[in-house]
């Protein structure tokens, strides 16, 4: 687990005049400018297809901007050597919209991946992973493989995997899309708890009702541009 809090005032993510297009297609994002202070909690809202997932992809280094500059933890990602990407990615937890769980691994092993990749001891893995899975209501499914779990259960495994290593930045793409309101609230409280411990949170969602229940700033995407609401 990482210690936090030394650079609270610094921006974790900075976008400067960022544009994104895939191949020769239309510009998905244009002239995007914003900064996420360390320890902040933001919702990323917008219609379906507005570019929320694309913006998250830029932050977690799965896509490169067509124009402009992105800084992640103070580093310009366009100049980032490939060898330095893993260290940066370990500081970012991602809940993918399509979960991206590894079907051949159990729920426990899926959640343990970030710890194992970072070289954690197996005793640490066996202590923390069942604890977290129990917290998200999956204590009886530790050894179940993703294909045998429901959509909501898979989503909770994906969330547990994203938060297990206490990342500095958590990106979640529609993390409550497949769960009922009760579980959705419980998951958001988990994100708030992480935020209180110092993790910067960005949650992409089109669930306006959910967003309105929390008093967090919002980045809204419309026609490829991002506005602070």
């Amino acid at each position: 687990m990482r210690q936090k809090g030394s650079n609270q005032a610094e921006s974790v993510v900075t976008f400067e005049e960022v544009g994104l297009r895939y191949g020769r297609g239309p510009e998905i994002l244009q002239d995007v400018n914003f900064a996420l202070p360390a320890g902040s909690f933001h919702f990323l809202t917008g219609m379906s297809g507005a570019g929320k997932s694309s913006l998250l992809r830029l932050i977690y280094l799965a896509a490169r901007p067509s124009s402009g500059r992105i800084r992640l933890f103070g580093q310009d990602i366009s100049r980032l050597p490939r060898a330095e990407m893993p260290a940066l990615r370990r500081r970012v937890g991602v809940v993918f919209q399509d979960f991206r769980l590894l079907d051949h691994l159990s729920a426990l092993d899926n959640v343990a991946l970030p710890l194992r990749v970072a070289g954690a001891r197996e005793s640490e893995v066996q202590k923390h992973v069942p604890e977290l899975l129990s917290w998200v209501g999956l204590s009886e499914y530790l050894h179940a493989k993703p294909p045998t779990l429901s959509g909501g259960q898979q989503q909770r495994v994906a969330i547990a995997r994203a938060v297990i290593a206490r990342p500095d930045l958590l990106l979640a793409d529609e993390p409550t899309g497949n769960v009922d309101d009760h579980i959705a609230m419980r998951l958001l409280y988990l994100f708030e708890e992480l935020n209180r411990l110092g993790t910067t949170i960005v949650i992409a969602t089109h669930n306006e009702a959910l967003v309105s229940r929390f008093n967090h700033p919002r980045l809204h995407i419309e026609r490829g541009r991002v506005e602070r609401v």
Partner: protein, 300 residues
């Protein structure tokens, strides 16, 4: 057999590679074992020939003309003259005439029963040992023998031995080239299998990268799998090669008459054969690791 028992995040166990790679490595190990055994046996034979024959010469004295009794007496005189001459030559340690009975015994493996040859005029032989540390002018000795003892010729084993050794060395190099080629083919197969694995597991690899896995973390899993498959295949290949080599050795020992030289393999050869599966496994591991690292480095 599994040497690395560490957990793998990639589902490599179920790949088609797991089925064909051990068999292919087994075949390659079998061929390498046979080739290497040939190299070591040949090396041993060459060394023994070299040790046995260098420093020895044979002088052949043709039967003197005339009737049987006269011829035998005169031939013996010529042999004694030749032995005296040889013993007085600097660098010659010993010179012994080989009597007719012993000569017939030497011919027996090739000609069978020699009772019929008793009455034939056979050349007599003189076994000469020269000091290997001293240089004896064999051409001059040959000329002196010819001039002093009619019918005497010097047979220098070194001429035919050097030709034989050259031929053996060529065969030895050829066998070593075969082993190297087998190594190359094994590497190429591992490269192909690893690239296929990378393509099949692209999605899993992407997820691991997104989670922060380094290329070396992914490469380790491919390398360990390749090592295990290589070792399993190597041991299987060796298990197949051992009885095959044993049978060849047994068949060679059964040949009568010393037509073949001693075909035993030195201990270094046996050690090399036992190490072969581990070499195959290491080759597979290093190749897989190198292939994964190179392929992943090309990714954006």
């Amino acid at each position: 057999m599994l040497f690395f028992r560490r957990r793998s995040d990639l589902p490599l166990k179920d790949d088609a590679t797991s089925r064909f790679l051990p068999w292919l490595v087994a075949l390659m190990t079998f061929l390498s074992a046979v080739s290497l055994a040939g190299v070591f046996v040949l090396g041993g034979v060459i060394e023994r020939w070299d040790r046995d024959v260098s420093g020895t010469l044979t002088v052949q004295v043709a039967p003197a003309p005339g009737n049987a009794v006269d011829s035998e007496v005169r031939t013996r005189e010529r042999v004694e003259a030749a032995v005296r001459l040889l013993r007085s030559t600097p660098g010659v340690l010993s010179a012994h005439s080989i009597d007719k009975t012993r000569t017939l015994q030497l011919l027996e493996p090739w000609l069978g029963d020699t009772a019929l040859l008793q009455d034939l005029p056979l050349p007599l032989l003189i076994d000469v040992t020269v000091d290997p540390s001293k240089r004896v002018d064999l051409d001059a000795l040959s000329e002196t023998l010819k001039a002093s003892v009619p019918g005497a010729t010097l047979d220098d084993h070194r001429v035919w031995l050097s030709r034989l050794v050259n031929l053996s060395r060529t065969v030895e190099m050829l066998a070593l080239s075969v082993v190297l080629m087998i190594g190359g083919v094994t590497s190429a197969t591992v490269i192909y299998a690893t690239r296929t694995g990378l393509a099949v597991h692209q999605e899993v690899i992407n997820v691991l990268h997104m989670i922060g896995a380094q290329d070396s973390y992914i490469a380790r899993q491919f390398a360990e799998r390749a090592f295990n498959l290589g070792l399993a295949g190597g041991l299987l290949g060796l298990a197949l090669a051992a009885p095959a080599l044993g049978m060849v050795g047994w068949a060679a020992r059964r040949l009568e008459g010393g037509l073949l030289p001693d075909l035993s393999m030195p201990w270094t050869g046996w050690v090399m054969l036992l190490v072969l599966p581990w070499i195959a496994a290491l080759l597979a591991m290093v190749t897989a690791r190198f292939t994964v690292l190179r392929s992943l480095a090309r990714m954006p």
